[in-house]
Point group: C2
Chain length 399, copies 2
């Protein structure tokens, strides 16, 4: 059902002929360093603030392309230009990464957000892989240790919850750690890698995944229980779906077929739960008890949700051959290709309303940068190649 | 053009026969005190958290009805039940009001939000007016002094902005103070009232209002300049429109016709800027330079925006007789009456998508409670009565 040859070419071309050139052309700030990420539909810069999440993710993307696709010097130069800006401007005195900077690099928003550190660690880890430069390794390692140190109190002094009344833990950090630890594996002691992986898989698959409802919760009580509150009820289907390919990658690494099977089954439950039967696409947020949400953007269709889901379904199909993965994959591909890529100026729209029309014209902003689309197209391209190799007979059958 | 007799009756009936009974029936928590505000379409409680904004606003609403409409003991009892819960549970040790509590009253979210204090002061001020009980006056006064003390650093330790890099001031507090100071006038020294009014009018009309663009900004630089940033560019048309009736009330109090005229002109600019020519209704957020916004909910149509705009246009018409106010008022009335009231279960939907369809089924939640709709219907009812008295000839003319 998946025409892996054709799709592999499509994803590769999207990555190398459309998305990467878009960011290389419009994003570098050649005067002040770092990248502009707030780009209008046509690439024009509409705001110059620099968000550490997106600066770091773009460093990672260009380093990843250099490591995994081709040793193009312009890609390495783009990654290192971003890294220089981050090293000069990105950290507070305690080594924590700010949330945002002005164009010139003056700190704007305090280091309240631990994911700035996660993406910085990821960036410098990949840049070490690309260059062998030990300075990058040190930054990645120090940042990773800070994350582990902060993880129980991730928001620190900026946490507005009164301690003790409703202690919750959030899905995002264990989920990101499942991916980050693989990214940093060459830099860390093996026992720390194993412990982090074990804890991550346990959190995602045994604590946040709720078999009774077939969904992943965004927040659970610290004792593992369900919290019947706005935070406790919220589901972010794309978040859980993205986590499932992180889990599949971990399972693949340790040759755990049963874990791959479980991650695939959960992914199928999540995509069924998240799909909008009326207008197509996957909802941004849902309430597990079908109560009204506090997220006014709940019914919107976001770029990252859709491409991450495609990766998960493609990997699920690759590893299990389950026809339901192929079927859902095709459905996601069709919706995504019809709605997100901009036929006029290239790259992807980020935010669609429920009906699938662009809600914002931007190609990049405060949260969308050079990350999910290129990472996703790369993952999809390589997964299509693997499917092509693993299931040649299947392809013949559909001709 | 405004059929004030007919509309006055409509608003009065909406208030007394629909909205007030809805909240009296479904909202009181007779076991634990205070109010449930998270109410489904049919009044069913879907979440039991208690948000200080909404607890206080509902106390104010029932006290206001008791003072201004009729001495119904059930209204006073409802107000005092909410006040008891607030007094027992609402404040931290330093006297600042928490943001939210559990159903039982355990503090959930710290006192990071100065508007909790604004609405608490408003509630206890009105309850003092209703009862003459000096304990309520003391709470209102102490809370008001705390607000003045905190106003320059409203978010306190929870402020994530790095000091000095981009110092901004926000429109909401000066705007709310314009209304709050009139609410608390009987409790405050006259010189404090005058100073607060003067500062409020200056902030709203001379600093946040930008004559070149004909709009009100949500955030400006502390030196009064425009900040070309996400926060600096954002417009909330409903916010500015609501402020214009606060200004008209202040202007009326001091007999300043020129100020009423200016507020009316600004209101007409704001409604023209905020109106969605394609689907009707007023946008939630816009960018003054037409750049993409960070608010994903920017194109939604919210209940409070529409009823507050109706009040402003009605008062603008009452005081100036400007036909454009009457015309816009009719347009707002038609849109609002077609889209917000729920014909099946009563009360109003709060959140519509751009096309005007309900986005959430709730009647009350974390931000919508027993406040804007009843206050608005009361204001509209009384303004229609005043129009009827001031322009009797006009009414004859349209018959």
């Amino acid at each position: 059902m998946i025409d892996a040859v054709k799709l592999g070419k499509l994803y590769k071309a999207g990555l190398l002929d459309d998305v990467v050139p878009f960011w290389l052309n419009y994003s570098p700030d050649r005067e002040q360093g770092g990248y502009f990420t707030c780009l209008e539909r046509n690439g024009e810069v509409f705001d110059t603030d620099k968000f550490i999440w997106l600066q770091a993710r773009q460093v990672w993307t260009f380093a990843m392309l250099y490591v995994n696709v081709e040793k193009r010097s312009e890609w390495l130069a783009a990654a290192e230009a971003g890294a220089r800006f981050l090293l000069q401007r990105g950290r507070a005195e305690n080594g924590y990464w700010y949330f945002s900077l002005t164009r010139e690099g003056a700190p704007l928003v305090q280091p309240y957000n631990i994911f700035s550190d996660c993406f910085a660690a990821m960036a410098f880890g990949k840049l070490y892989e690309a260059t062998g430069n030990n300075d990058y390794a040190t930054v990645a390692r120090d940042t990773f240790y800070n994350i582990l140190k902060r993880q129980e109190q991730a928001k620190g002094i900026y946490n507005k919850a009164v301690p003790g009344t409703r202690p919750l833990k959030n899905f995002a950090l264990p989920m990101i750690l499942c991916n980050l630890v693989l990214e940093l594996e060459p830099l860390l002691e093996p026992s720390l890698v194993e412990d982090t992986i074990r804890a991550g898989i346990d959190a995602v698959m045994k604590q946040f995944y709720r078999p009774d409802q077939g969904i992943i919760l965004e927040n659970i009580r610290t004792d593992g229980g369900f919290s019947d509150s706005f935070d406790g009820r919220v589901i972010n289907p794309g978040h859980g779906l993205e986590a499932m390919w992180f889990i599949m990658d971990l399972a693949k690494r340790k040759g755990d077929d049963a874990l791959i099977r479980r991650a695939t089954d959960i992914a199928l439950q999540l995509v069924e739960c998240g799909w909008d039967a009326e207008h197509g696409g996957i909802f941004y947020f849902l309430d597990v008890l079908n109560k009204p949400l506090q997220q006014l953007e709940w019914d919107q269709k976001l770029w990252w949700v859709h491409i991450e889901t495609m990766i998960t379904l493609a990997k699920g199909y690759l590893h299990t051959g389950d026809g339901r993965c192929a079927q859902w994959f095709q459905q996601l591909h069709d919706y995504t290709w019809q709605h997100f890529p901009d036929p006029e100026y290239g790259e992807w729209f980020g935010y669609l309303n429920r009906e699938g029309k662009p809600l914002l014209s931007l190609k990049g902003g405060k949260w969308k940068g050079c990350f999910h689309v290129p990472r996703g197209l790369f993952q999809l391209w390589k997964t299509m190649e693997a499917i092509e190799q693993k299931y040649p007979a299947y392809l013949l059958q559909t001709k």
